[in-house]
Symmetry: C2
Subunit: 142 residues, 2 copies
DNA sequence: TATTGTTATACTCTATAACTATA
DNA sequence: TATAGTTATAGAGTATAACAATA
């Protein structure tokens, strides 16, 4: 046997899983009427702490220009505000409103629920392995 | 300690890693001038075997209607053909041309290279854990 | 009747380049 | 000069509903 059995499998599995989980989350939270990327950003803000646009871009591995229209939409909905960063006035700090925090918490809870259900038969060791691989792939791609 | 330390982390990490790896792949293969989703589909076909549109949709966790324009584009480029499935004439089998196979193999190799580089310090056990978590999340979301 | 895939349609996702304000 | 973020722009990604062909 000289042939690799399953070339490309981690990254292809990653993309498949991302599509699948995004669709599931969107339909679980259909009443919020928010696209998947918005849920993702909100979940990243669910701890209530402010983050600069750049920090959010890093957290989601997207570009600031990708976030602009998304943040505009969430602002229009009353879910967040952009505050000028006092420390560096080129930056904006993204801050959830009370409404936004409630929605963000629902998104984060739906994600946590989905993980709990999916990972009921998964050991902490396997979970640690998952993060080791994910982190390695993410770090190499930055 | 009653608070979970890192709620939502698997799925958020998944989405971050997907964005990061897609961007890296696209720039590694910039000379092919293909968007990320095309590379993903081609890599899924790189073994040279034909697949129905439905099977491809399942492999990428997308809908057939999402694939239509993508397959049209790859057909226009001469990378694949749709053949009527003799066993079930409602179906189309997607088959790579020789040119398409060459491009698909480059995509699959770039993915394999990226994985090799990223996972050089990752143990087989960690890798197995990764797949256990990914599979659990994917299966729950179908 | 049910299923496969396309078409038509409507938005969202995403990045690059040029720009503004600030550092 | 360099950086943070937006604006302008262009194209790709995605799904739903309606449809045609086949089962």
């Amino acid at each position: 046997m000289t042939t690799a059995k399953d070339p490309g499998s981690e990254i292809l599995a990653l993309h498949r899983a991302t599509h699948a989980t995004l669709q599931t989350l969107t339909s679980l939270l259909a009443d919020l009427d928010l696209p998947a990327a918005d849920l993702n950003v909100l979940a990243n803000l669910a701890d209530g702490a402010g983050r600069t646009v750049g920090a959010l871009a890093a957290a989601t591995a997207t570009k600031p220009s990708t976030l602009t229209s998304l943040l505009d939409r969430l602002t229009r909905r009353g879910y967040l505000v952009r505050q000028s960063d006092l420390a560096d006035r080129r930056s904006f700090v993204v801050l959830l409103t009370p409404d936004g925090l409630a929605v963000a918490k629902r998104a984060a809870e739906a994600i946590a629920d989905l993980e709990r259900q999916a990972l009921v038969g998964v050991t902490p060791t396997q979970r640690a392995g998952f993060h080791a691989v994910i982190d390695a792939l993410t770090e190499l791609s930055q």
